[in-house]
Amino acid sequence: MLEIHKDSLDVKEIQNRWYDLVRDKNHGALITFIGIVRDEDEIEGLSFDIYEPILKKWYSEWVEKLQKFDARLFMAHSQGDVLLHESSFMCGISSPKRRVSLEMIDKFVEDFKANAPIWKYDMRDGKRIFVKERGTKLPNSGVLR
C-alpha cells in the first residue's frame, strides 16, 4: 500500500496500522524504515514534490517483485513540508520469515533513493530551495542535451 500524506507523517499511527495489517497474514517479520529529517545546515525542515503517476508505477513493480517471496510492501511519503525531527518517509516489508524482509528493505530503500520521482527542497526563511547536487540523476538523463 502506497500512501501520500500532506506534510509530515504520523509515525505512530502508520506503524500501528501496518502492524495490524500484517498480523492477519501470519507473517513472522515486519521490518519498518522510518526516515527522519535531521537538523543540518540551519534548515527549518524539508519540503517535497511527488510525481504520482511514475511513483505508482515504480511502486507496483516492487509489489509484484515481492509477491514472489510472499512478502508484502508498505510505503508512506510526505508531500509538502516536514519540520526537523519529523518523518517524511516510511516503508515496511513483511514476510513469513525474516530473511526476505531484512534483505529486501535494504534493496527497496536504495532503489527508492535512486529512482522514486520525488524532489526535496531545503526550507529556509519560508522559502523552498532545491539543491541540485543532492539529487540523483535518473536513467538516461541528459537525453535532451
Partner: protein
C-alpha cells in the same frame, strides 16, 4: 498536440506543442533560458515511461515529462 510537463524544481507551467517526434522537443527547449542549466541532467518520460533516446514518434495526446535529479525520503 503533445503536453510537456516540467516536474519538481523546474517550476515551469506545462505547455502544449505540436510536434511529431521527441527530437523536435529538443529544438524547442534549447532556446529556453530557464531550462538551459537543466537539460544536461533531466530525464524524459513519455506517458510515464522513461525514454532512452529522442528517436521516438509521438501521437496526439501523448504526455512528455521532464524529470530533474531525484531525492526522495
Amino acid at each position: 498536440m503533445i503536453t510537456v510537463e516540467f516536474l519538481g524544481p523546474l517550476s515551469k507551467e506545462p505547455m502544449e506543442v505540436d510536434i511529431k517526434n521527441l527530437a523536435e522537443l529538443k529544438d524547442i527547449l534549447k532556446d529556453d533560458e530557464s531550462l538551459s542549466e537543466w537539460l544536461d541532467s533531466v530525464a524524459v518520460a513519455l506517458n510515464d515511461e522513461i525514454v532512452s533516446s529522442l528517436d521516438i514518434e509521438l501521437k496526439d495526446g501523448d504526455r512528455v515529462s521532464l524529470l530533474p535529479p531525484v531525492c526522495g525520503g
